[in-house]
């Protein structure tokens, strides 16, 4: 693969002046792209570490002017936020493990060529990629099932992602058949084969799918908003941030919003401001992802390509 993309460069020694200009402009463009991508994060980071009352004066760009940990201390001392962080972590861990395991199981059954229900199960799943009941019917269903105000709405309705099933199935179909066959000859049942042979062999693709699932679990706020908005003990970090954002958007600079209530609810009222709380929450909500994704780059690129080609 690497060789393929390299070979046009074999002739790089015959560089014309036009080529040189193009290359330089290209590099300049890429640097601009990186700045545009990174600057907002670095700026938010700087504000989150800057003294809140000092930030109001403006002029914070890449580095905090008056360094402080106060904003983070404040945010984590707030009981709501602490609880929300706990729920976010919990739903990410439980949701990812159960979802990936179930997706793999479905993928395994529909990868068995001899399975008589293979066609039926595949089509039943793939069809759901093209339609959905929609917001209200889903809401009514969850209500009828008595799942409103429970933790299970974060796990069960999204248990299986069809795209993930397709990606895992393609991977299993690429495994050497001999391995599965020999397990069977040794008398292993389907479930044992799946647990002992298939799952360990699928680690690369499971890493990809876990990343996608974990990111979407960590990032989701809409299910909290829709099903659990009146149950504060089930709120998540993203939803808390969303509430701060909504209030500062709708009542621009009125000083009467959620975050400023937040800020003045504590005795040391002038230590934090809505702006610095928002910046701090933004960092808290995105740091786990920023720390993890660069190391899984190989896996998700593979997953995208596999799913894109076969799906």
């Amino acid at each position: 693969m690497a060789k393929t993309s390299d070979s046009p460069r074999a002739h790089a020694r015959f560089k014309s002046p036009a080529d040189r200009i193009f290359d330089t402009l290209n590099i300049v463009f890429m640097i601009c792209l990186m700045v545009v991508t990174l600057y907002p994060f670095l700026n938010t980071l700087a504000v989150s570490f800057n003294n809140a009352t000092d930030s109001v004066k403006g002029g914070i760009y890449l580095w905090p002017r008056d360094f402080t940990w106060e904003n983070y201390k404040y945010v984590f001392n707030e009981a709501t936020i602490f609880q929300a962080t706990f729920i976010s972590v919990l739903r990410t861990v439980i949701g990812t493990i159960t979802s990936v395991f179930c997706c793999a199981m479905v993928a395994y059954t529909i990868s068995r060529p001899e399975y008589v229900l293979r066609k039926f199960v595949s089509i039943a799943f793939i069809l759901t990629m093209y339609f959905s009941g929609g917001l209200i019917p889903n809401f009514l269903l969850i209500r009828e099932l008595g799942m409103l105000g429970t933790f299970s709405v974060y796990i069960i309705p999204g248990l299986i992602g069809v795209f993930n099933v397709i990606v895992i199935r393609s991977f299993i179909e690429g495994l050497p058949e001999g391995i599965l066959e020999s397990a069977r000859i040794d008398g292993a049942g389907e479930f044992t084969t799946f647990m002992r042979i298939v799952l360990p062999l699928c680690v690369p693709v499971l890493a990809t799918v876990s990343l996608f699932t974990a990111v979407s679990q960590w990032n989701s706020w809409f299910d909290v908003f829709l099903y659990n908005s009146s149950y504060t003990e089930l709120s998540t970090l993203q939803y808390e941030l969303m509430k701060i954002l909504q209030n500062s958007n709708s009542s621009m600079n009125s000083g009467n919003d959620y975050a400023s209530q937040f800020a003045s609810s504590e005795s040391g009222a002038n230590q934090v401001t809505p702006t610095s709380i928002r910046a701090t929450m933004t960092i808290v909500a995105s740091v786990p992802i920023i720390l993890v994704y660069p190391f899984l780059q190989k896996y998700f690129v593979q997953g995208m390509t596999l799913g894109g080609v076969k799906g």
């Binding site: 070979s7 890429m30 907002p40 959905s132 058949e177 391995i179 909500a285 995105s286 390509t305 080609v309």
Partner: protein, 346 residues
């Protein structure tokens, strides 16, 4: 890979395509020896016999079929509510049927027509901007000579895709703020504007802001599939073109771009199917009372009428309209691609 598997790929394939009966042959022999299986080895087995034999696989998929039925197919029944005057207090079978009343209301409602305009406009802007920027960036990345630099740029460009829209919206509204936001400061510094603009407060800017935000968030991610397609292009084509004296731009135009065509068409079909899905989160999070005439799209309309106003029937009618139109668009686009002899989705 090959060492682990003494049978070559061709044989593996043949093994897989063998009928299930002959594959289980060895197992059966063993079972016969131990007297566990008394059934004579007949030729064709009935569907139910096979089903019984594969009960482990069946048990492994039944729970998920049940899940699928409850969470994906059962809600479709809710569509009937669109043809009723749904009153939550009444029982399901006591609802009054009103035929297409809600649909005719929708198409005469000025509010709904404005929502449709916003949906289509934002979808179209996102579609065009999304394709153009991703393809251009993928080509430029492919032209980078320093592979280390290329990797760094790629890794950084994926970042915004992984953060939530809540975080992105928070960052975007900070950058656009009229009170020290970087965009306003930059424009003031360049002398392009005299005083800060309230970007999110003026409806006319909203579609543009949304389009740029979508690009900022997803352009890096969208290049992955094009870069993968580029590695499939036969390098000897580039060499031949170079010998024929083709310049860099000509090589991009005549080799790289045509090489991306199959992927482009598949993605185009999928995106046409999603034309009414202009997104929900960015519009909802960046929208406010001042830009609502431009930011409100179909999904927000459904949410407003359904959850906030409790008008389930109208809301479901709008949602159903969306799904049905998307379905038709997807199949039409796929059919046209088939007619033209292009790659297609299914």
């Amino acid at each position: 890979m090959d060492k682990a598997n003494p049978i070559g790929p061709a044989e593996t394939k043949a093994l897989r395509e063998m009928p299930a009966e002959s594959k289980g042959f060895f197992n059966k022999q063993r079972k016969n020896d131990t007297g566990l299986n008394t059934r004579p080895p007949s030729g064709e087995k009935s569907f139910f016999q096979k089903l019984l034999q594969q009960k482990a696989l069946v048990f492994m998929s039944i729970p998920f079929l049940l899940w699928l039925f409850i969470f994906k197919y059962l809600p479709l029944w809710g569509w009937t509510i669109a043809f009723q005057d749904f009153k939550p207090a009444k029982k399901i079978f006591d609802q009054e049927w009103v035929g297409l009343k809600h649909f005719t209301f929708l198409f005469q409602d000025e509010h709904f027509l404005r929502v449709m305009r916003n949906t289509l406009a934002m979808s179209f802007i996102n579609l065009v901007l999304g394709f153009v920027t991703a393809i251009v960036l993928a080509i430029l990345l492919n032209e980078l000579r320093n592979l280390m630099f290329k990797r760094v740029v790629q890794t950084i460009s994926y970042l915004p895709h992984f953060i939530s829209w809540v975080v992105a919206a928070s960052i975007i509204s900070t950058a656009l703020s009229s009170d020290g936001g970087i965009i306003n400061e930059l424009l003031l510094w360049l002398g392009l504007i005299k005083e800060p603009i309230l970007w999110l407060g003026e409806g006319e800017y909203f579609w543009g802001i949304l389009g740029v935000s979508e690009v900022w968030k997803n352009v890096g991610w969208n290049t992955i599939i094009y870069l993968a397609a580029m590695t499939m292009i036969d390098p000897s084509q580039y060499e031949a073109a170079e010998i024929d004296g083709a310049g860099r731009f000509q090589r991009i135009w005549n080799i790289t771009l045509p090489g991306l065509k199959p992927v482009f068409i598949i993605l185009l079909i999928m995106n046409i199917g999603n034309l009414l899905e202009s997104g929900f989160e960015p519009q909802y999070l960046l929208g406010n009372g001042m830009n609502v005439d431009y930011s409100e799209n179909l999904d927000i309309f459904v949410l407003k009428y359904g959850i906030q106003m409790g008008n389930f029937s109208l809301s479901i009618a709008a949602g159903m309209f969306k799904t049905v139109v998307s379905f038709i668009l997807l199949f039409t686009a796929n059919h046209i691609a088939k007619r033209l002899g292009e790659e297609r989705l299914f």
